[in-house]
Symmetry: C2
Subunit: 206 residues, 2 copies
């Protein structure tokens, strides 16, 4: 059985939703960032990076959302969460998720985790001021074409969708003008109605 | 035939090497960052992100190194560049490459591209000062276990190897103490001897 380590309001939500969508047997274990549990030896033994998600599988431990999502899609092929039989379409899934993790999530992280990349308080404030613009630019590209609609890849729901939904949860906090993103917001609303999303959110935010 | 758009000294080298390793028929097209060709309409029509690599395939255009690498591995299975038949091992490939793109490459980018996330010159200088530490921390995790040796995943060469080699090219410029990374440097030396690596480097740096 899969064990997913998550913290509330983090990108681990994407994997949590995907496990629900896949009909997987799994347990979700909450880590408290407020208590800095992600930096304690018990958790670092699971994920030396001190981040979430970490997914304990029967074969070993996986980290990094694009990897946990692909593992879920390939381990539960009957759920059809990725175009596994088509290398180009499958690479499109990876391209989208890679953009989310390396550009959009990174832009967001500069709002409250500037200490990762700088030292001075003035730099943190400077980074924080730019977040509406940088996260907004990332989502503008998604709005203008990467999100094909109704789902990210078009008619078929894939592991891109819970990941986009997860990062779109942060738009208000990041100060992005939602009125510029009608298609992204439509996607967010469609996602919020899915039973798998409701269940994962209810568990994480209770 | 595949067409790879690259710029010298960028992460596009990883895809270039992988195409060589795969024995693919491809052409490599150089973009000059010095001339800001990546921001010109001709190139933005290929990759609206204004980044490299971009890979034009018969089915469409792909961006993001973890995606182009997976596409190469899946399109040329006889080259055995990824454990395609094993979902867990395949996810390990994705986890490693995702770590490189979202953590290690991002840390490196703060040295000369601080303008992506901040506005003030003082912030850029602050970010730049921290790069030896942040890139060093990323490579320290790789040194301590993610790089199993002799190749990233162990005995089998995969698409993780050209990507690690590519980012390891930047260590000196990033001010990381190479003496702390004997296993990473050993990997870099092994990679530099491979014909595919020599050929890609010769083409990019001529």
């Amino acid at each position: 059985m899969i064990r997913l380590y998550y913290a509330a309001h983090t990108c681990a939500l994407a994997s949590h939703i995907a496990l629900e969508e896949a009909g997987a047997e799994y347990s979700a274990v909450r880590i408290s960032f407020a208590d800095e549990e992600q930096r304690k030896p018990e958790y670092l033994a699971i994920n030396p990076k001190g981040r979430v998600p970490a997914m304990v599988t029967e074969q070993g431990i996986l980290t990094e959302t694009p990897a946990t999502l692909v593992f879920i899609a390939q381990s539960f092929p009957q759920a059809r969460l990725a175009p596994l039989e088509d290398p180009f379409r499958f690479a499109e899934v990876q391209a989208f998720n890679s953009y989310l993790c390396s550009t959009v999530h990174v832009a967001h992280a500069h709002r409250v985790r500037g200490y990762r990349w700088a030292t001075d308080e003035a730099s943190f404030a400077d980074m924080k001021r730019k977040v509406p613009q940088t996260v907004g630019a990332g989502f503008a590209l998604i709005e203008r074409g990467m999100l094909r609609g109704p789902w990210v890849l078009g008619e078929t729901y894939t592991i891109c969708d819970p990941y986009l939904f997860t990062l779109a949860q942060w738009l208000e906090g990041d100060g992005v003008d939602l009125s510029t993103l009608p298609r992204v917001m439509g996607h967010r609303a469609r996602m919020a109605e899915r039973p798998a999303v409701r269940k994962a959110l209810a568990e994480e935010l209770n």
